[in-house]
Symmetry: C2
Subunit: 217 residues, 2 copies
Amino acid sequence: MEPSKPDLVPNPAVRRLSLYLRHLEVMQQKARTTISSKQLGVALGYTDAQVRKDLAYFGQFGHPGIGYRVDDLIGRIRRILATDRTWNVILIGGGNLGRALLSHPGFGPKGFRIVAVFDTDVSKIGSPAHGLVIRPMASAPLYLRENPVKLAILAVPAEVAQHVADDLVAAGIRGILNFAPVALSVPSDIAVNSVDLTVQLEQLSFLVNSTESTRKA
Amino acid sequence: MEPSKPDLVPNPAVRRLSLYLRHLEVMQQKARTTISSKQLGVALGYTDAQVRKDLAYFGQFGHPGIGYRVDDLIGRIRRILATDRTWNVILIGGGNLGRALLSHPGFGPKGFRIVAVFDTDVSKIGSPAHGLVIRPMASAPLYLRENPVKLAILAVPAEVAQHVADDLVAAGIRGILNFAPVALSVPSDIAVNSVDLTVQLEQLSFLVNSTESTRKA
DNA sequence: GGATGTGAATGCATTCACAGCA
DNA sequence: TGCTGTGAATGCATTCACATCC
């Protein structure tokens, strides 16, 4: 049995784990060997208690009086996030965004490898894209039967996103990173993470507008 | 004085407002005239009480027995999010991601217009990019003095992101959408929204891995 | 009947504060 | 002394439940 699968982990804690890992990797690059919860917190804008509690959900990784050993903590968090292995990922959508994601340099070092690209738009089929060739969406189920992949990135227009998601789930995909501006409906055991770029900008416009108004007061 | 600037709005509520708006715009397209908090909630995966409370933070927009008038609510939320006007945006970074964002069709209809592109990489300067020409980052302060713009999208490597952010803030930028995998440090009256693509995938790998393990049990 | 708006109650997440260890 | 790990306390966000209105 795997060690330490805690009963109840706050969802935000998992998100922060990724950020801790990101900063730890920078510290490792700089040959730092240990780091305290205080230092990690300051670097990312959290309290030291927050950092300790987040980590404590998964085990006892620290050393009183010393802090956390950087190498060790990196390994621990990677195991928790399950990125201590390589995840093959398929990309749906060979448009501008899709191709930008294909050539995104950050995925590889973090353990994610895009192994195939599909598109519903027949005019794109066969085009080369960063070392891969865009395949017809209809061929995805067969591909997934021969090459089991659990993660998919969805970079297609909103109108077809739900339909594509249904097909992916039926073909065995278990997690979807969705860039289409629509709320996908999927079975509860399928993970979905949505990134809507305009929503991000709207949040900023709200915040900037608020501070502007407050300023005059 | 502007009406209804509530004292305390939960941050998550503002995020959901964007999602409500997105769905309302689809409903408007379908010529729906009214919608209830229940229907809106079901479409997005929230409870009806959640929807009503979120909206009630900003005023009384609904009609008992009827629901919310779609056109009206769209206008209200746009005013709240301050997207009832056009926001000019500058883009920093003419790489793959930057150029994909430039050609992103969703921004315009939502009121965001990218008006200039800058890059620190001299080899990119002068290249055409979706109707614009990439300018040297050093020219950004002058540009911003002549064309006041409040929002910036940051699509540069992590190593230069903080430096660029500092320059942008000094030049008057008030909100930053950051795609670099690093926590930006900015004055408290500057809004920052960070999107780290690998963090998104890590969340999925965690979730998928969890459900896989649980399944066998 | 059908829906909103909202105080009260609940449930989560964060922070405090301190015992315990190096 | 310096720092972790953790129960207890606080603070926020969500949900309940109901008075109110069309």
